[in-house]
C-alpha cells in the first residue's frame, strides 16, 4: 500500500501541472479570440494549417450549425473508414506485409473498422496473425488519429456550447485537434517511449538463435509510434496481441507510469479548459477533484484485492502471495492494478490479463463503462461529465424551485431531451444486446460458475463496445461473424447516436444568452455542488445497472468469497 500511495502522489504531481498547461494551451488555441493577441505558437500553427485549409476549401472563419457539424464529422469518419476497408480487404496484395498473408473476412473487417473509427478499439482479431504490417502500423494509427480528433472536436463543441456562445467549424476543429494536440504530443511521447526501450523501426521481424539454440522470431515494427497515439488518443488498440503487457509495448515500470500519464493527460486537460473558458478555475478544480477521488478510490480497491491474492490458489498451495496470475513481473502488482482501474474508465488498453483480476474489478469496470463520466473516452468522457453536471444543476434547480441553469445558461426541454438520450442510449444498446446474445447463444456448460462468468463476459463485451472503451474478458471466443457484426453495430450506433445528441446539445446551448446575475440561484463551484454531482453520477448509474452487476461479477464473488 506504500507503493500505491507513492504511485498515486507521483501520478498527480506529474499529471496536474502538465494537464494545467495543456488545458491552458487548448483553451487558447480552440477559442481564437480576435480580441487577444496571438501567441507565437498560434501564429506558427496558423501558418502550418493555412495550406491545409486552402487545399481542402475550408473557410476557417465560417461557423457551422449543429447538424452540419455532426454531418461533417460523420461523413468524414465514414470516408476514412471506406478507404481503410479497401486497404484491409486487399492487404495481402499490398506491399509491407511482414510475411502475413491472411485474407480478412468481411465481418471481421467491419468489426475492426467500426471499433477503430468509434475510438473503441475492441480487439477481436489477433494482430500478429491477421494483420499485415501495412494494415497494423499504418491504417490503425490513421484511424486512431482521426477518431480521437473527432472525439476531441465533439468534446470541444459541447464545452464551447456550455461556456461560450460559439459552435465552430467541424473540419477546423478536427484539423486543429490533430496538428496542435495529437501529432506533436504523440511525436514527443514516441521519442520518450523509444528512450525507455520500445522499438521503433520499419523492419518487420528479427530471427535469431537463443542461448539454448532454439530459433526465435521477434515481430517488430514502428511500435513506439503506435503506442503514442494509442495511449494519447485513448484508443487502446494493441499492435501486438498482449497489448500494453507486451514487453515491447511497455518495457519497464517507468514506461508503465508514462503510459498512465499519457492516457489521463488529455481528459484532465479538457476539464481545465472548461475552467479557463468559464474564467472560473475553481469550477474546474471542483469537477476534477470529484473525478480524481473516484479514480483514487478505484485504484485503492483494485490494488487491495490484487495484493490480497486469489483465495483458491493461496489455500491450495498454502501461500500468502499476491495475485501474480496474468501480470507482468516488471510492472508489478500495483502497476498492473492501477493501470487496469484507470483503463476501465478511459482507454481499453490493458497491461495484464483482465480475466485474472478479482471479479469485483469487473464490477467496477462495468460501473465505469456504464457511467462513462470518470474521464471517459477522448472528448466524449468530458461531455458525459458535463451531462451529469447538467443533470445535477437541473435537479438542484427543481429542488429549489428556480429555473434550472448551468453556468448562466438556462436548461430547457430541448437540452434535457438530448441529455436523456445520452444517458439512456448506452443501457438500451447494452441490455438489448446481452439479452439477444443470451437467447441465441446460451451457455452450454452445467456449471453454475461458468454460467455466471459467461454472463459477465457477454455483458462486459457489450458494455465496453457501447462505451467506446474496448476492454474485454478475453476468454470469450469472440472472433465469430455473430460477435463481429453485432458489436460492430452496437459500437456504431452508440458512438454516432451519442455524437449526434452531444453536438446538438452543445449547439442548442451555444445559442442561449449567458445571464450573469450577481446572485445566482446556486453556485456550481462549491464542494457541496461537487458532492451532489458525485452522488447524481453514481446514483443514476446504479439505478440502471446495479441489478445486472449483482447478477454477474458480484454473484461470482458471493459464490467463492
Amino acid at each position: 500500500m506504500i507503493e500505491l500511495t507513492i504511485f498515486i502522489i507521483l501520478l498527480l504531481l506529474v499529471l496536474i501541472p502538465s494537464s494545467y498547461v495543456l488545458g491552458k494551451y487548448i483553451s487558447i488555441h480552440f477559442l481564437d479570440d480576435p480580441l487577444q493577441k496571438k501567441t507565437k505558437l498560434q501564429m506558427f500553427f496558423d501558418k502550418v494549417e493555412q495550406p491545409i485549409y486552402k487545399f481542402c476549401n475550408i473557410n476557417p472563419y465560417k461557423q457551422m450549425n449543429g447538424f452540419d457539424y455532426f454531418m461533417a464529422l460523420f461523413s468524414s469518419n465514414i470516408l476514412i473508414s471506406a478507404f481503410s476497408f479497401i486497404v484491409l480487404y486487399f492487404q495481402n496484395k499490398l506491399p509491407y506485409t511482414g510475411g502475413i498473408k491472411w485474407q480478412l473476412d468481411i465481418p471481421l473487417i467491419l468489426h475492426i473498422l467500426s471499433s477503430l473509427i468509434t475510438n473503441t478499439c475492441q480487439t477481436h482479431h489477433i494482430p500478429e496473425l491477421h494483420l499485415t504490417h501495412l494494415s497494423n502500423y499504418f491504417i490503425m494509427p490513421l484511424l486512431m488519429f482521426y477518431s480521437s480528433a473527432s472525439g476531441i472536436a465533439t468534446g470541444i463543441v459541447v464545452m464551447r456550447g456550455v461556456t461560450l456562445s460559439k459552435i465552430g467549424n467541424a473540419y477546423v476543429d478536427v484539423i486543429k485537434a490533430m496538428t496542435r494536440i495529437l501529432f506533436p504530443l504523440s511525436f514527443l511521447l514516441c521519442l520518450i517511449f523509444v528512450a525507455l526501450g520500445t522499438p521503433n523501426t520499419f523492419k518487420t521481424s528479427i530471427t535469431y538463435e537463443t542461448l539454448e539454440n532454439i530459433k526465435q522470431t521477434i515481430i517488430i515494427g514502428p511500435i513506439a509510434a503506435f503506442e503514442a497515439i494509442k495511449l494519447l488518443g485513448e484508443n487502446g488498440l494493441s499492435c501486438l496481441n498482449a497489448n500494453s503487457a507486451h514487453p515491447f509495448e511497455n518495457p519497464s515500470y517507468l514506461s508503465n507510469f508514462v503510459q498512465l500519464v499519457s492516457i489521463l493527460i488529455v481528459p484532465f486537460a479538457l476539464i481545465f479548459t472548461i475552467g479557463f473558458w468559464l474564467k472560473n478555475l475553481k469550477q474546474a478544480i471542483v469537477i476534477l477533484s470529484v473525478l480524481v477521488i473516484v479514480l483514487i478510490f478505484e485504484f485503492t480497491a483494485v490494488t487491495y484485492f490484487e495484493l490480497k491474492g486469489n483465495p483458491l490458489i493461496n489455500s491450495a498451495l498454502n501461500l500468502t502471495s499476491p495475485n501474480w496470475v496474468g501480470k507482468e513481473t516488471r510492472l508489478g502488482i500495483v502497476g498492473s492494478s492501477v493501470f487496469e482501474a484507470a483503463v476501465s474508465n478511459v482507454s481499453g488498453s490493458a497491461n495484464a490479463a483482465l480475466e485474472s483480476f478479482h471479479p469485483i474489478i469487473n464490477a467496477f469496470g462495468l460501473f465505469n463503462l456504464s457511467n462513462q463520466s470518470v474521464f471517459g473516452v477522448q472528448g466524449f468522457g468530458t461531455v458525459f461529465t458535463i451531462n451529469f453536471i447538467l443533470y445535477t444543476a437541473f435537479f438542484i434547480g427543481l429542488m429549489l424551485g428556480k429555473t434550472p441553469e448551468i453556468f448562466g445558461k438556462r436548461i430547457e426541454k430541448n437540452e434535457m431531451i438530448l441529455s436523456s438520450i445520452l444517458l439512456l442510449l448506452n443501457p438500451l444498446l447494452v441490455l438489448v444486446g446481452v439479452i439477444l446474445t443470451l437467447i441465441i447463444y446460451p451457455d452450454k456448460s452445467n456449471n453454475l460458475y461458468e454460467h455466471l462468468h459467461y454472463y459477465t463476459q457477454v455483458f462486459y463485451e457489450f458494455a465496453s463496445g457501447a462505451a467506446s472503451n474496448g476492454s474485454g474478458l478475453e476468454s470469450l471466443n469472440d472472433n465469430t461473424p455473430y460477435w463481429n457484426l453485432s458489436l460492430a453495430t452496437v459500437m456504431f450506433l452508440a458512438r454516432y447516436g451519442a455524437m449526434a445528441s452531444m453536438i446538438l446539445m452543445g449547439a442548442s446551448l451555444a445559442l442561449k444568452p449567458v445571464r450573469t446575475s450577481s446572485h445566482p440561484a446556486f453556485k456550481t463551484d462549491t464542494a457541496l455542488f461537487g458532492f451532489i454531482f458525485l452522488f447524481m453520477s453514481i446514483m443514476s448509474t446504479i439505478l440502471i445497472y446495479l441489478p445486472f452487476i449483482i447478477l454477474s461479477p458480484l454473484a461470482e464473488v458471493f459464490m467463492h468469497g
Binding site: 498482449a242 515500470y253 517507468l254 501461500l319 490479463a353
Partner: protein, 183 residues
C-alpha cells in the same frame, strides 16, 4: 469534397508522423529503436526485453508461457479468476517445479503465466527457488549463485525500491560465462 480532402490530409500527416518518428528514434536511440538486442560473439542471441524458453536444467527458467515464448502470437490462456482450469494448472506447475527443483517451493510468480507470455523477468524469490537444482547439477556453489543473483537483481519500483526482480536472459548469460570459467 472537403471531407475527402481532409481524409487525404490525415493520411499524409500520418505518413509524415510515422516516417519522422522512426527516422529520429533510429538516429537518437539506435539500440532501443531496433529492439534492444543482445549480442554474444557478434551473433544476436536475443532481446533484453523478450523472454526466452529455457529447458536446460543448468539455466534459470522463466515463467510458464502459453506459446512457449514463441513471439509469433503473444498472450496467455485467459482463465477466469475462480475457474477450475486455472487452479489445476497452477497446482500442476507447482508439483512439476518441486519435482525438478529438489522440493524447494517456488513463489506464485514463477508458476503462473504472465499476461504477454513473453515476460523476461522473474522475482528474486523465484530465482532463489531454482538455486538448489542449478548448484547440485552444475557444481557451482550456492554462495556463488546468490552472489550472481544479488549482482543482477533490480528493485521493481522505478529501479529504486521494492521487491527485487531479475532479467533471466542476462542472468543466464552471466551464468554461461561462469560455467566457461570453471570448466
Amino acid at each position: 469534397m472537403t471531407g475527402i480532402k481532409v481524409c487525404m490530409v490525415t493520411i499524409l500527416l500520418t505518413i509524415i508522423y510515422l516516417a519522422s518518428s522512426v527516422f529520429f528514434s533510429t538516429i537518437v536511440f539506435n539500440c532501443n529503436a531496433n529492439g534492444s538486442l543482445i549480442k554474444s560473439n557478434n551473433k544476436i542471441i536475443g532481446s533484453k526485453l523478450i523472454g526466452q524458453e529455457f529447458s536446460n536444467p543448468l539455466y534459470f527458467h522463466n515463467r510458464p508461457s502459453l506459446n512457449n515464448y514463441k513471439n509469433n502470437i503473444s498472450g496467455n490462456t485467459n482463465d477466469a479468476y475462480y475457474s477450475k482450469r486455472l487452479i489445476e494448472n497452477i497446482k500442476t506447475n507447482h508439483i512439476n517445479h518441486k519435482i525438478k527443483n529438489f522440493n524447494s517451493s517456488p513463489d506464485l510468480n514463477l508458476i503462473s503465466e504472465s499476461a504477454s507470455g513473453l515476460d523476461p523477468d522473474i522475482t528474486y524469490e523465484g530465482a532463489i527457488s531454482q538455486i538448489e537444482r542449478i548448484s547440485k547439477l552444475s557444481g557451482v556453489t550456492k554462495d556463488d549463485l546468490i552472489k550472481l543473483l544479488n549482482k543482477k537483481a533490480k528493485p521493481l519500483v522505478f529501479g529504486i525500491s521494492g521487491q527485487k526482480i531479475i532479467n533471466v536472459l542476462e542472468l543466464n548469460l552471466e551464468l554461461k560465462q561462469l560455467y566457461a570459467k570453471t570448466h
